[in-house]
C-alpha cells in the first residue's frame, strides 16, 4: 500500500512540476544555473571515469582475444560498441545519479526543513515547478551531451592504450572503430540517456521535496534518491534495451 501511496504522491508532484513557469525570464536564469550545476560541474568526473574505463575495456578485450583468426581490429570495434551501447549511457548515468541526484535531494530537502519551500508557497509560487522544472529541462539537454562526450573520451582512452602498450596498434584500433557502425546505436543510447536524466532529477527532487523533519532526514533522502534512481536506471536499462534493440 505504501508503494502505491508513494507512486501517487510522485505523480501528483510531477503534475505540479510540469506546470507553466511563473515568469519566463526567471526560469531562463535558473535554467542557465542548472546547466552549470548539472553539466559543467559534472564534466571533470565524466572525463576521468570515461578515459580510464575506455582504456580498461580495450585492455580487457585485447586480453581476451586469444584466437589468431579474430582480427585485432575487433578491439576497436568492441570498445566503441561497449562505450556507445552500455558503458557511457548506463555507467555514467549511475555515477551522475550519485553526484547530481544526491545534490538535488539535499538541496531541496534543506530548503524544505529550513522553510524556504514554505516561503515560496506563501508568496504564491508553485515551489515544485520553480525548483524541479529547470533542473529537469537542464538535465534532459545536458545529460545526452555529457554522454556523447563520455563516448568520445572513452574511445580515446582505448586509443591511448594503443599508443602506450603493445597489445594492439593505433591503426588496428582506428580501423576497428570505423567498422560496422550503425547510427541507430547512438539514437538508442540517447533515448536511454534522456530517460535516465528524467529518473535522476525527478526521483531526487521527489525525495527532497517530501522530507519531514531535520538534517538527518535530509541525509536519508539523499541516500534514498541515489539508491532508488540507480535501481530504476538498471530496470529501465533492461526495458529500453529489450524494446529498442530486439
Amino acid at each position: 500500500m505504501k508503494l502505491f501511496y508513494r507512486i501517487g504522491q510522485y505523480l501528483i508532484l510531477m503534475k505540479q512540476v510540469l506546470a507553466k513557469p511563473e515568469k519566463r525570464s526567471v526560469f531562463f536564469r535558473q535554467l542557465m544555473t542548472e546547466f552549470n550545476a548539472i553539466g559543467v560541474d559534472s564534466f571533470g568526473i565524466v572525463v576521468i571515469i570515461s578515459i580510464f574505463m575506455g582504456a580498461v575495456v580495450s585492455i580487457l578485450v585485447a586480453y581476451n582475444l586469444e584466437n589468431p583468426l579474430i582480427p585485432k581490429t575487433m578491439i576497436g570495434y568492441t570498445s566503441r560498441e561497449m562505450a556507445i551501447l552500455e558503458f557511457s549511457p548506463t555507467m555514467i548515468s549511475l555515477i551522475l545519479a550519485g553526484k547530481v541526484g544526491s545534490s538535488i535531494a539535499s538541496q531541496i530537502g534543506t530548503m524544505r526543513v529550513t522553510e524556504q519551500i514554505d516561503a515560496l508557497e506563501i508568496m504564491g509560487i508553485n515551489p515544485a515547478n520553480f525548483l524541479i522544472f529547470p533542473k529537469l529541462i537542464a538535465a534532459i539537454f545536458i545529460h545526452p551531451a555529457l554522454i556523447v562526450f563520455s563516448m568520445a573520451v572513452s574511445i580515446f582512452g582505448g586509443y591511448m592504450v594503443g599508443i602506450f602498450t603493445n597489445l594492439f596498434t593505433v591503426s588496428e584500433y582506428i580501423s576497428g572503430l570505423r567498422s560496422w557502425f550503425d547510427p541507430f546505436s547512438i539514437f538508442y543510447a540517447l533515448i536511454k540517456t534522456v530517460v535516465f536524466a528524467i529518473i535522476i532529477v525527478t526521483i531526487a527532487g521527489y525525495q527532497g521535496y517530501i522530507i519531514k523533519g531535520g538534517s538527518i532526514d535530509v541525509g536519508r533522502a539523499s541516500t534514498k534518491a541515489v539508491v532508488y534512481a540507480s535501481i530504476l536506471i538498471i530496470i529501465f536499462n533492461l526495458i529500453l534495451t529489450q524494446l529498442l534493440l530486439i
Binding site: 511563473e22 526567471v26 522553510e115 524556504q116 514554505d118 508557497e121 506563501i122 508568496m123 504564491g124
Partner: protein
Amino acid sequence: MIEAKYISKFFSDTMVLNSISVKFEKGRNNLIIGRSGAGKTVLLKCLVGLHEVDDGYIDFDGRDFSHMNRKNRKEIRKEMGMLFQGGALFDSFSVEENVMFPLNMFTQMSEEEKLDRVNLVLKRVNLVNANHLMPGELSGGMIKRVAIARAISNSPKYLFCDEPNSGLDPNTADVIDELIAEITEEYNIVTIVNSHDMNSVLKIGDHIIFIHEGKVAWQGNRDEILSSDNELLNDFVFSTELTKRLKRKK
C-alpha cells in the same frame, strides 16, 4: 481584515485546533500567544494556507480563502508577506536578491525600479550596505530584518510573523518588535504575530489571542492581560521569575 470562523484542524485523530473563531484587524498588531504545543503555529499555518482546515473557513477581506482553488489563492498569496522563525532566506541568493525576489516574480518593474525598492525597504529595516552579503554571513537579527524586508518588498496587505524573536537577545528582539509595530502602522496592514515572548506581548500587543489546547481561552489587549482573572492565562503570563516578581510588586 482576516476572519477565521469555527476552524478545526486534526492530525490523525488528534484535534489540534478546536472550532476557533477570531478576527484580525487592519493596522493592529495581532498576537497569538500560548504554550508550546497549544496550536499557535498550526493556527498561523492554517491562516496562510500551509495547512488545510478540516472545518470552518478563513476569510481575507470578504474572500473565502479556505474554499478557493489554487489559482485564486495565488492572488491572495501575492498580498501576503511572512516572516518565518528561522528567516527562510534563500541560501543561494544574496540579501539584495532575496529582497528583490517577490518583485522579480510578480511585478513588471524595471531593474532600476526594483533596485530602488530593495534599497528603500532595506533602509526601512536599518540594513544599509548589506546588499551583497549572503545569508550565511548574517547575524540572527540581520536575518530577521532581511526576512522582514523581503516580506514587505511587494507591499503586502497581510503580514504574518512566526516567532520573530526566537533565538535573539532581548535588545535585538526589542528592535524587531518595534520594526514590526512601525511597519504595521506605516503600511496599515493586518499583522499577525505568533509569539510566546511576554516582552513582545506587552510592547506591541494591540490584540492578543491566548490559545490553550487548540481553543481561544482569552482575548484582549496588552493593558488587560496583566489584570485578567483567567487562570490559564495567568499561569502562562506569570510563569517566568521576572513576571512573578512584577506581579508580587503590583
